[in-house]
Amino acid sequence: MIAHAEDDTPRLVYADWLDENGDPDRAAFIRTQVALWDKNPSDADYRDCVESLEEACSFLPHSRSLAPSLPAGFRFDEILHSTLDSGSGGYRRGFPHLVELDYNYEPEFSEKLHAGCPALLDTTLRGICVYTVLPHEGVQSVLASEFGESLTSFLSYNQESAPGTSHGTVQTLLSSACASKLTWLETWQDSVR
């Protein structure tokens, strides 16, 4: 799954294994997230897929952590339910996918982020989410890593609204090697200039 992060087949094989080994609830969660991922809202079965995912999530308690262990400077959102309509949570296609950059104002924060990136390549994480206003260098240090080149998702919140921070990150991202694999881009701002 890690080596072929974009391929659904290993995930579905793993779901079969979970079924045969006493974990049908997680198997259903994987299958329903995979089924929904490439749907679009105009598909006739889109709403059925969303409802199937909601049902699967209801059987998988939040107290049961599926989160990977993360290096310093990163954190994971445990919310299970995620669709095109409601993009919250760190799971995509049944496995941890989005990791948040956790800015803690420490000196050499960017260097610490960059140092943690190799460990992320050993997980199914292939997306980053930037909720808080980060120094431009923090985001760039991740994009410049091998993990950055493997990214398929990038979510940015409030970055362009703070002068001197990561203004232009999206443009940098799209003109870099990261863009070749990118399938999901979100940009949001709270304050409007």
Partner: protein, 112 residues
């Protein structure tokens, strides 16, 4: 045996587009944006004309959803690309109130 799987997944953009027009133009000028399949846009009012022009030239776009503004004030320019005969684009526009509910309650404005 080693095989390489190249999956061409749906590419999506979701965003708040009441940003500086320059930023929006930079985004839309990228090669990545040109290949988009799905777009969800909110707060589009200020940049509606700029965005509408770009949408009309996206060859792969099959879903466009605009949320968060009054359907009665949608600029004509925004809808013009979807009024072409034979268009297969699925387009939904949500108003302020409707956008707070789940999408199954939204009313499709145009679906061809």
């Amino acid at each position: 045996m080693s095989t390489t799987t190249h999956l061409r997944r749906v590419t999506r953009f979701a965003g708040h587009l009441h940003c500086e027009t320059k930023q929006l133009k930079q985004l839309m000028a990228s090669e990545w944006f040109a290949g988009l399949h799905q777009i969800q846009a909110t707060s589009l009012n200020a940049n509606a004309a700029v965005f509408a022009k770009a949408l009309s030239s996206l060859p792969n776009l099959h879903t466009f959803e605009a949320k968060g503004f009054n359907p009665q004030t949608i600029p004509t320019d925004l809808m013009r690309p979807y009024q072409k005969p034979g268009s297969s684009l699925h387009c939904r526009v949500f108003g302020f109130v409707i956008s707070r509910s789940v999408s199954k309650d939204a009313l499709p404005l145009r679906k061809r």
